[in-house]
């Protein structure tokens, strides 16, 4: 008679199908944007009253990549011919409803979530159980970008470079070196950005899977390792046998904490000390996320890709399945209503 030894059941969240599902869900996440041209800056003879463009933007994308779409709309519907000719996209910049400048090099999902949590901390916070997501209202300015507060030129090329820089940092945090990123052929590096530009999940992940760890199939804190790369002559530079990477743990998960209207927190957190999101938040914000408050309402919550994440979500899993396209797990901390 065979008996089954005590064995951890494979975590339902770590099967290849489940990993692919959550990566797909993250990729397909969108947020509503309402882009309104500053009425004072409309060129003469513009179709006033129509200078507002609504769009459902991918969380993993970037504002400079939306500019062509916005521009087409404005040229078709709002500006007359003369107006359309004087418009210079390199002078465009975005402002939030509260007057804050929008960092165009941040992923759109992050811009949305940081706005949402900053609202949570304000006196006029809406009830946290509102059903439909509220559009993020952005004012589009057509000229005179405040160059002391904004990076120069929101061009797609500059955005791509910033994106590559974030990927490189994420690579370094995971492995202690940037060999996986630098090991990618130029074609593949460009392919990552093209995948975002075209919003093509398969094109992006075909390359990203070479550098992103996957959670181990068994639950119980096994070290994440990159998903096996199909043998191909092109990828020989950075292909590693999976067991070699499983042996050396991922050093840390690239993660940053965004407080409502506050600074961005980033610290190296070794995977041994911090396993779950709860551990991670307690390590940085022990007063907001105390351990022993079972009978009292939570003070704060954490949003990842717009989803309120439970404290027992594993950081390694979040890093593998719900990170942004730039490799980072952006945790936006909001304050619970009174």
């Amino acid at each position: 008679m065979s008996t089954y030894g005590a064995r951890h059941a494979p975590s339902a969240f770590s099967t290849p199908a489940s990993i692919a599902l959550f990566r797909r869900l993250t990729w397909e996440g969108t947020v509503p944007l309402e882009v309104r041209v500053d009425p004072k800056e409309l060129p003469a003879n513009s179709n006033r009253g129509l200078e507002c463009y609504f769009l459902q933007a991918p969380r993993v994308s970037y504002l400079p990549l939306l500019i062509p779409e916005i521009r087409s709309y404005l040229l078709d519907v709002v500006f007359d011919e003369a107006g359309g000719r004087v418009v210079k996209e390199e002078e465009w910049w975005f402002e939030r409803e509260d007057g804050g400048l929008v960092k165009w090099h941040w992923p759109i999902g992050l811009i949305y979530d940081t706005h949402a949590v900053s609202l949570s901390a304000s006196a006029s916070a809406p009830s946290s159980s509102s059903s439909a997501p509220v559009p993020l209202k952005l004012t589009l300015h057509l000229a005179s970008p405040p160059t002391d507060k904004l990076l120069l030129q929101p061009s797609a090329e500059a955005c791509k470079q910033a994106f590559m820089g974030q990927l490189k940092e994420a690579d370094f945090i995971r492995w202690g070196n940037t060999k996986r990123m630098t090991g990618l052929r130029k074609q593949d590096q460009d392919g990552l950005w093209d995948g975002i530009k075209e919003h093509d999940f398969d094109a992006y992940w075909r390359i990203a899977s070479k550098i992103t760890p996957t959670p181990a199939p068994l639950s119980g804190g096994r070290s994440p390792s990159p998903s096996p790369v199909p043998p191909s002559s092109a990828s020989m530079v950075h292909t590693r046998p999976p067991d070699r990477d499983a042996a050396s743990a991922v050093r840390s998960v690239p993660a940053r904490i965004y407080l409502p209207d506050g600074p961005v927190l980033q610290d190296l957190v070794p995977p041994g000390a911090v396993r779950t999101l709860g551990d991670f938040l307690r390590a940085h914000l022990p007063l907001l996320f105390p351990l022993d408050r079972p009978d009292r309402k939570p003070l704060a919550y954490a949003l990842v890709q717009g989803v309120r994440c439970p404290g027992d979500a594993e950081m390694a899993w979040l890093g593998a399945c719900m990170a942004g396209a730039d490799g980072w797990v952006n945790v936006c901390v909001g304050v619970e209503g009174a």
Binding site: L152, Q153, G165, Q189, P263, D267
Partner: protein
């Protein structure tokens, strides 16, 4: 661990009237100090990259052959930029910064040569920082 230091220095250049602010900030990612800086003309307009590297902040001919765009300087030998823009880690304002990924190696090589076993941790770290400045000054002129 090397401590984070914020160092803002204003260097008015008499003939051109430019202002440069320089910060040394600890990178939580690469765990080394990184130089962040801004350069503005007398009207407060930030200098474009092409003009910036011609100022006295940079040692002439010290930069490798590189591709220069409006937003970054990338050596021909490398797939990644050496100098680009980013958010200042604590101020959140836009700055130029020198990419730090080669720093640990460059400083490490020198430290391996000069390190003495009798150094305390404090002496080691001080010397590390001195060496870091030395490596940095191969490219950037920090003298007032």
């Amino acid at each position: 661990m090397v401590e984070e230091a914020d160092d803002a220095a204003t260097i008015p250049h008499r003939s051109d009237g430019i202002t440069s602010r320089q910060y040394i900030v600890y990178s939580p990612t690469f765990q080394v100090p990184v130089l962040y800086f801004t350069v503005h003309d007398s009207h407060g307009t930030p200098l474009c990259l092409g003009d910036l590297i011609q100022t006295s902040l940079f040692k002439p001919d010290s930069l490798p052959p590189s591709e220069i765009t409006s937003f970054g300087l990338s050596p021909e030998s490398s797939p990644f930029p050496m100098l680009s823009q980013g958010d200042h880690p604590t101020l959140g304002t836009p700055c130029w910064y020198l990419h730090p990924c080669e720093t640990p190696k460059a400083v490490g090589e020198i430290m391996a040569e000069i390190q003495r076993p009798e150094w305390t941790q404090a002496e080691y770290l001080t010397q590390w920082l001195r060496t870091w400045f030395a490596v940095l000054s191969g490219v950037v002129d920090l003298r007032p």
